[in-house]
Amino acid sequence: MGRDRLPDRCYRALLKLYPRAFRARFGDDMVELFRDRRRRARGVRARLTLWTAVAVDAAWQAIAVRREARAAGRAMKRETGRAMWARSLATDARDAWRTLVRRPGLSLVAVLTLGLGLAVGISSFALVHAVLLAPLPFHDPEKVVVLNARDDRTGAGDLASPAEVRAWGEHGSSFDAVAGYAYRPVVVTPGGREALSRAQAAVVTAGYFDVLPVATLHGRLLGRGDEAAGAEPVAVVAHRFWRDRFAGDPAIVGRRIRIDRSPVTVVGILPPAFADISDVTGWNRAVDLWIPARAGTPAADGRKVFWGAAARLRPGVSVADARTDMDAVAARLAASSADFRDRGVRIMTAYDYSFIHVAGTLWSLLAAGGLVLLVGGLNVANLLLVRALAGERALALRAALGAGRWRLARRVVLEGVLLGLAAGAVGTLLAAWSGRLVALLDPAQIPRLAGVGLSPSVLAFALASAVAAGVVCGLVPAARVARRDPADSLRPGARGTAGAPSRALRGFATVQVAAAMVLLVATVLFVTGIRRLADVGVGFPIEGVVLARLDLGLLLDASPETRAREARALREQAAGLPGVRAAALWGPGLPGNSVDTVRLFAAAGPAGVMVTAHHVSAGALGALAIPIVRGRDVEAADRDGAAPVAVVSETVARELWPGQDPIGRVIRLEAGGTPIAVIGVAGDVNHHRRFDGQARLADLYLPIDQRPVASPYLLAIGPDDATVLAGLVREMVARHLAYLPPPSTTTLDAVIDGLKGVRDLEVGTSVLSAFALAALALALVGIHGVLSVWVADRRREIGVRLALGATAGGVLRMVLGIAARLGLAGATLGGLAAFWLTRVLSGHLFGAGAADARMLAVAAALVVAVIAVAGVAPAVRAARTDPIETLRAD
């Protein structure tokens, strides 16, 4: 059957008269039919008749088929409306798909680069969404506000005293409930006899669970009765704490446990979904138990107690109403008592408060993610443009044959959308994976990080951005195709011989380089920020200082005498540890990080000044190399029973006794209180957690033996490796206070670095440098692509040049020159953008200043180097062009 003998071949030749589509569809059947006919035609005459008949038939019918096909085409064109549009859209989509599949390598590069860009964009959005956009995990979250005291002289926010929080609750009319809270590390004995363990407690006022209403899993919440003086001590525990320490036993409700050695009855267990206010304010306290601020206890009425405060707005009351109301309340309170003088109320929604410290970082992250997306997107635009230009003759042919320009442009956009969707899938997968990476970085202070994930909104964003990226990527090439006059592209040799790649290609490449440059500058900025912060110090050396908090309040005999004796004993033992140069006691805060603000009254003046008080052991200032500029340091003789003494900082001396000798002056800690003699003046150092030179360095150092602290810090100062020393100190304290849980130890420089925000900057640097690397890699791929296409297009021209005597080196230099020009243009543009941007943003990014010329030069050098690398392969390919080969090819 399959023998294709001469007559069959002749008949097949005749079939060429028919349109290709007709022939493809029916040709084989027609040959079969012809063969049947021929087999029956025996004899010359019959055969002649047959041949005449089929020849006439073929000629005649071919004309008719062609005429009918044209008529059908015209009818198709007349068929207007949506059906036609949809059908052609489907056709175009299929065409676009085929185009993409035909060049799988190029498409893969496009999908991967855009995918990488989208991954960065999507994960940035996921983060911003979880932190900034998702509702807070509270009941009616928009009604929850955070209250702060405000120092009306400086405008600075401050924690409030219990008296203030109570007064706000009593006098303010804007709130359904006002609650004060404070966090306190405690030691818990779950069953009464087991070993002690540490936990985080929140001391809260009765309104707390009215501000953050919740239904308990078992038992009840804290109520007003629990606050009364003499009420039975009770606690409500967190779900995680209940599960881990009590094995999820519901019978714990009603049972007694010990908190800091005192018996406390557990009355309720909260559900796992309950969020403490600290979970959204960025304090991330991971609270284990909530205990009431019972009247008469130090936690509720102590002089040195400060509270955070939150409130629930009354229905219909706006934040602005509440501010007006509370301003009036504050004014009345200030008039009524000296305690409230110069104190206002600052009100913020919990939502605003939740990201006040991180909003700048997050938005910068989003912007950086956007830049990477831009670079990836431009790669795709480049690719589509190159492809559109390469296929321009074909497209122009179609345009000449009547396909509308809009239709042709639409096809290019469709290609972009298909690429975008594929890249969106890749990007979503990458983002899901990188979400885990961000969690590994564990950026401190970013609240609600656990909520980051591929929620429906994030997926919707992924889809929208993928389609949008595809459309945008396709638009420029599409516009170009639509604008182009088909006649130009059809002219022979229409591929011009202009000196450099087309303007659009160059423009894309330049913007890519510029975006990568901006990210690089930002990275360099963060790195220098870290270095500069490292240089800004507290004013005394902090290296090699190990800290251990001593829970002396937990001693069975917690009398002041015992505590002081134990503290002294521990200090002496620490001083005797190998490698320890000096040991000291310090409280209640830390050197470089103190919170204990008191009002100091000089004998002369009626109004006091605010100072920060430090309770220190003998020789502590000397051990920390805080200089004594006049008088003497605290000494061992300044013990309980001896004359009360104090050392003040230079700032205090200058403010209280300008131009006079402060030694021997008398100060008091309350008006009419015990007189304290000033024995020395210490140099100004920074204990105040501000590293911008704005801290007011007013400090007061009191002998710890005269004014004991419940939980002082033991400092061991040694030149040796701090981690080894930390282990020794921990072991020593644990041995000495055998019945207490081992202390947590850390080093002073770790604490200070945390205060400076070095950690945040480090996280920012890791993220930014990853982004910058991604952008650079993408720009490298993009520029390599542009140059490769340019070289491929110019093969003929390069061949001619080589034939006419140009050297391979000259060609190499020419291509590398183009790369260098692209790199320089991009670096210049990016440098200008970075210069401007960092000046605008420098106020918002703590620690990261504005870009300077050196940074820009470093980044620019790196960018130009990378771009040169991108140019090497195409340049070598161009230089290796064989002139004969290329000239023959046409």
């Binding site: 007709f22 569809r25 084989d28 059947d29 027609m30 079969e32 008949a53 089929v54 009918e68 059908a72």
Partner: protein
């Protein structure tokens, strides 16, 4: 194609070309391939209508486009089958078109008979 009133839709095709009508008649009692159609028509018309390949397949294409016939994926008995050949079968629309054409022809025949132009009995 948007659905229209089936009758007026088919009426627009009338009169059918003789080849088209003959092909419909051939397919009315079963599926056939191209050569089968040619043979059947030759038989029924006592070889008065001979179809050359070009004519047949152009007509088949038109009829496919007009949805009067369709390609069949069913095959006759395996021993009769030539798997390389395409089989065609009549569609509902093809049946309606053939009926309409037959009715038109019958009317014309009736007219002719009324004018004594046709002697044989119906």
């Amino acid at each position: 194609m948007t659905p229209k009133n089936p009758q007026t839709d088919v009426d627009a095709l009338l009169p059918l070309k003789p080849v088209v009508f003959q092909v419909l008649l051939s397919l009315a009692d079963g599926e056939r391939h191209g050569y089968g159609i040619v043979q059947d028509i030759a038989q029924r018309t006592a070889a008065r209508m001979r179809l050359e390949p070009g004519n047949l397949y152009r007509s088949l294409k038109l009829m496919l486009d007009l949805d009067l016939i369709e390609e069949s994926d069913k095959r006759p008995a395996p021993d009769l089958d030539d798997e390389r050949r395409r089989y065609y079968r009549i569609t509902r629309r093809g049946v309606r078109a053939a009926e309409a054409e037959a009715a038109r022809l019958a009317e014309m025949v009736a007219d002719a008979r009324a004018r004594k132009l046709l002697r044989t009995k119906a």
